[in-house]
Symmetry: none
Subunit: 398 residues, 2 copies
């Protein structure tokens, strides 16, 4: 990585505001406009007139990203190099205190019949309220196997995460979830010699859990997606930025923690903005996450996504009054209401900084961004561009 | 490299005109225009109407290039693969006759006290006039150490370059410049077994130089930045082009020599154009360098940079009357007057050739280039585009 050798520190303040799922598609029922284009966004428009516009490609053409790789790319990491396993994402999503070396697994409560076969993969559609006390019992009665600590993290309904922490734990084990009913849980088997200990631990966990849960609606557990936290240079090591992550959904808090940001607990976007104001003097870089556009996009709710964008616009002056040196406003990916899901389309970017120039357009949406001076760049290019605008990158070569 | 296998030769003439630091930023005091946009450039505009326009990215997003990597990229080389060490750049900048295998070092005259400690790192701010005779004495009295030839190159004030030429010289030696006063020069130490001989040679040079310079204002020398010329396929080997480099600043002459261009001595841009006309029949490719826009940009002199661009425009007809098959006009990087330095912003490109097409815009500046048919490309893409337009690249695959 050339960039790392060129990073310098100074007193500038950088803000990366990620409106999740911001990008959209023209909708025939809304004047052929995209959500961002249809929304009334006077603050964004005024800022756009003083900013550089462009588009970013989250991963590569045609690839619809999950939240993990999309955010890693925005944080300036190579999302193809740093692959986050399913278990890690699940654990991050549940706000688990993952540490390097931990093995995370996705766990399910199941209902087993008298022969030990899976009768119901969701343990009779067990509710959160029913599952919590069962998880607490596992936590109390199964705190460890030999020298491996077990960390049980509650999830939604029949889902939970299990973290294995201890010497020689490994992700090299097979799933024990048979993925269908009428069959017994599979045996945990090592996929390499490194996984032997972990396979034994998991078998023990499954057997003991049956004893602990005997007679309950959920009387067994199965696992899949064993994964370790990738070893990743922290945001501060890589970019020389003391960073705070302001997110109110566990997944994004987890991703910010993964790269070593300080991550306070927040309940909603309102609190994120308040915290931004309070912590302004103590950090160099703020990642601010706004979830709503993605949710409405996934629901196919064009009008709802428009409204979510307008709410963001209304909050913008409170960020601007802090006078950040560099402000980037973008999404992690597109979630067009027309598509009902994360999509592969390029995402609008606005970059405001002392040397961003301005494109002279008082509007911010997909179509004006296409003509913007930033052009279309890969998502990992945005962080170096922020650093450059803040005078935080030395010249390359003489 | 795919390209090299596809290169063919013919009788076409190619000109790469590099206006150093050409790219700029919109300036609020000049109608929100960039330098190139504000300048009155009737010749460039008319040519633009018959050309393909676009932008090039010198290195990668956010990276502000030095002249070395920026020019290597324009010459079609990978600027991250070919890293030019400090000593090589210094020597190139001083017009030194560097050859592959040579080790180049940056040298300083210093003033040593009676204990042999550095009393003044600039030898009492020695002038060029004072330093020249001292360097001449070193040159005469220290022409070699054993089988290693010493080539002494004068620089500005206390600076000079030293080239070591001979069997087994190596860049694997430490600096001897202590970088502060009150300490003796450091010992040259090998950083690998390959550097042992070179360390011994440097120690001998420092000791003998003290004898030669005894009693002078500058009575010692120190070294840093040992570097070898990277082994690099010549421009002719790579691109099949017999090339002339027309530059009147040492650094750019050095860079042209580095890739094997024929480089006549020139005093100014006027002479570069004259030489272009004289040598027209004898070469396939001409790199013409125009320094002034970068200088004015670094001074933050918007109006001066505008004027420099207008001067370039006035010279353009003399290039056009030669009727080059392909002409590219661009910069090596942006030097916005607003930024006072080399910057990371994309650089306008104009490509005129028999198959360049034309974008139908009678203007040449950042904003029209954004809409141009070339799009935004990496700087190393320009040379293959020139070859293609000149019919000098075979089809790839059947």
């Amino acid at each position: 990585m050339v960039y790392e050798d060129l990073v310098i520190r100074n007193n500038t303040k950088l803000v990366l505001l990620v409106a999740d799922g911001l990008g959209g598609l023209p909708h025939p029922e809304f004047e052929g406009k995209t959500e961002l284009e249809y929304a009334h966004t006077p603050n964004l428009d005024r800022l756009a007139a003083r900013s550089a516009l462009g588009l970013h490609l989250p991963l590569s053409p045609g690839l619809s990203p999950g939240s993990g790789p999309a955010h890693l790319a925005l944080f300036g990491y190579d999302p193809f190099e740093l692959r986050l396993g399913r278990g890690v994402l699940e654990a991050l999503g549940l706000d688990a205190p993952l540490e390097p070396g931990d093995v995370a697994l996705r766990g399910n409560f199941v209902r087993l019949d008298a022969d030990g076969k899976v009768e119901d993969r969701r343990a009779g559609r067990i509710s959160d309220e029913e599952a919590r006390p069962l998880l607490l019992r596992l936590k109390n009665e199964l705190p460890r196997v030999d020298d491996v600590e077990l960390i049980w993290i509650p999830g939604k309904e029949h889902r939970f995460a299990l973290i294995l922490r201890g010497p020689d734990v490994s992700e090299d084990v097979t799933d024990t979830d048979p993925q269908k009913e009428g069959e017994p849980p599979l045996e945990a088997r090592p996929t390499s010699p490194r996984g032997e200990k972990t396979a034994r631990v998991l078998q023990t966990v499954m057997e003991k859990a049956r004893e602990v849960l005997a007679g309950e609606k959920a009387n067994g557990v199965v696992f899949r997606g064993a994964a370790t936290l990738p070893s990743i240079p922290s945001f501060e090591e890589r970019w020389g930025l003391k960073a705070m992550g302001l997110a109110y959904y566990p997944m994004y808090r987890g991703l910010a923690k993964l790269v070593g940001m300080t991550v306070p607990h927040l309940e909603n976007f309102e609190e994120a903005i308040e915290k931004l104001q309070q912590a302004w003097e103590s950090f160099d870089f703020f990642f601010v996450h706004y979830k709503e556009p993605d949710k409405k996009g996934e629901d196919g709710d064009f009008a709802g996504k428009v409204k979510a964008i307008e709410t963001l616009d209304a909050h913008l002056p409170r960020i601007l009054e802090l006078n950040p040196t560099v402000l980037v406003i973008t999404g992690d990916h597109a979630t067009p209401a027309l598509y009902h899901a994360h999509s592969w389309h390029p995402v609008p970017v606005l970059l405001h900084g002392p040397f961003s120039g301005q494109d002279g357009v008082e509007a911010f949406h997909e179509k004006v961004c296409r003509q913007g001076s930033l052009g279309m760049v890969g998502a990992p290019a945005l962080l170096p561009l922020m650093l450059a605008n803040a005078g935080r990158l030395k010249r390359y070569g003489a």
